[in-house]
């Protein structure tokens, strides 16, 4: 039997892909996205359309409530005392705003003499 002398062929290792970092992947995605001018243009138009649409509807956006400037109030260790102090401050304001003659609610001016 003629046995061929089979020499073992050396196994050439396949080039393994270099593992990419996730940050690189994100960077690439962002780059692709920003290079897509048509898409960016579309987003811009949608945003502008949204703004115009909202103004045409004359709807009011959320109001940013700003708290009034805090007045200097004495603070105590006891939380109940602080609560009482706050309440007294608020009551003081109400006393200042009292209108004992109810001028704002005075009856409407009506002329009954309408015959001619």
């Amino acid at each position: 039997m003629n046995v061929e002398n089979i020499s073992p062929t050396p196994i050439i290792p396949m080039p393994q892909p270099v593992p990419r970092k996730p940050i690189d992947l994100v960077k690439e995605k962002v780059k692709n996205f920003t290079q897509n001018k048509r898409l960016l243009g579309l987003i811009f138009i949608i945003l502008i359309a949204g703004v115009i649409f909202s103004f045409l509807n004359k709807r009011v956006g959320p109001k940013i409530l700003t708290s009034p400037a805090p007045h200097a109030t004495q603070t105590f260790k006891n939380p109940e005392a602080n609560e009482s102090a706050e309440k007294l401050k608020s009551l003081k304001e109400k006393i200042f705003n009292l209108d004992i003659y109810q001028k704002r609610l005075s009856p409407p001016n009506i002329n009954f003499d309408i015959t001619f």
Binding site: A49, S54, A81, I100, Y101, I114
Partner: protein, 268 residues
């Protein structure tokens, strides 16, 4: 697939952009006094406009008494009189809401006045001749002078009384809380009752004076129905006089309680 992606993106962005700028007001529109007052101010403007139209039409007619101008002034009078009843109704309704807001009992007379103006407004009919309109207007004048005017000032008095009483009661609540704290610390031996015992007497006196003023004012307003005053307005002005002193007393009470609280807490 690409088309679907773009459509979804388009819709999402459109909704987001709209949501950011629109944010609809979803708060329930409660019928508060402020809302009722706005209605009153609006109705005042509407009545004012109707009255000016009536006056203009009347002047034209008096200068040139044609049938057409008479018909015009009739229509303007009809509109103005309906607006006038509506103004009274809306005004009285605003007073009613105010009473409810400050937790004061609504006078039954106030409700019947509101009902009267509501019904009277509907009694005007479009084809009514001028003479009928004038007669119906006199009904309102008579009602206003005999009932409405009194009810208005009685209600205004109750609003002021309610506001004053509410302020006193709120101060009393704070006083009670401070006093409980004082009693606790005295019983635990952390504080001496002196000089607080004298302070308590002074504060009690202010509260008593406030209560006395309320009673004086109530006695004064009861005269509104006795006819001893020239008008309900003068009866009202006289009735609220004790509240002038009450305002000063409330300020004093507020200041005393603040001082009491500070002194007490500083000693602990």
């Amino acid at each position: 697939m690409n088309f679907v992606k773009k459509t979804v993106l388009f819709l999402t962005l459109f909704l987001i952009s709209n949501f950011c700028f629109l944010v609809p007001k979803t708060h329930a529109q409660e019928f508060t006094f402020d809302k009722a007052y706005q209605d009153y101010v609006y109705t005042q403007t509407t009545y004012g406009r109707a009255y000016s139209d009536y006056e203009r039409a009347k002047d034209f007619y008096l200068k040139n008494q044609t049938l057409t101008l008479k018909e015009d002034v009739r229509k303007k009078t009809y509109s103005m009189l309906r607006e006038r009843d509506e103004l009274e109704r809306v005004y009285l309704a605003a007073l009613r809401i105010k009473l409810i807001e400050i937790k004061v009992a609504v006078l039954p007379k106030l409700d019947s006045e509101i009902e009267w103006y509501k019904n009277h407004k509907e009694s005007y009919k479009d084809p009514d001749p001028l003479e009928n309109l004038f007669n119906k207007s006199k009904e309102v004048e008579s009602r206003y002078k005999s009932d409405t005017y009194l009810v208005i000032y009685d209600t205004l008095f109750n609003i002021t009384l309610g506001e004053m009483s509410n302020l006193r009661v709120s101060h009393e609540e704070v006083y009670k809380s401070i006093r409980e704290n004082l009693d606790k610390n005295v019983s635990e031996g952390k504080l001496k009752i002196d000089p607080f015992n004298r302070w308590l007497t002074d504060i009690d006196l202010v509260i008593q004076n406030l209560k006395d003023n309320d009673e004086k004012a109530k006695k004064n307003i009861s005269k509104i129905y006795e006819g001893s005053f020239v008008s309900p307005l003068s009866a009202y002005n006289s009735a609220v006089v004790p509240f002038v002193s009450s305002t000063t007393l409330l300020m004093q009470l507020n200041s005393f309680l603040g001082e009491f609280l500070t002194s007490l807490e500083n000693q602990l």
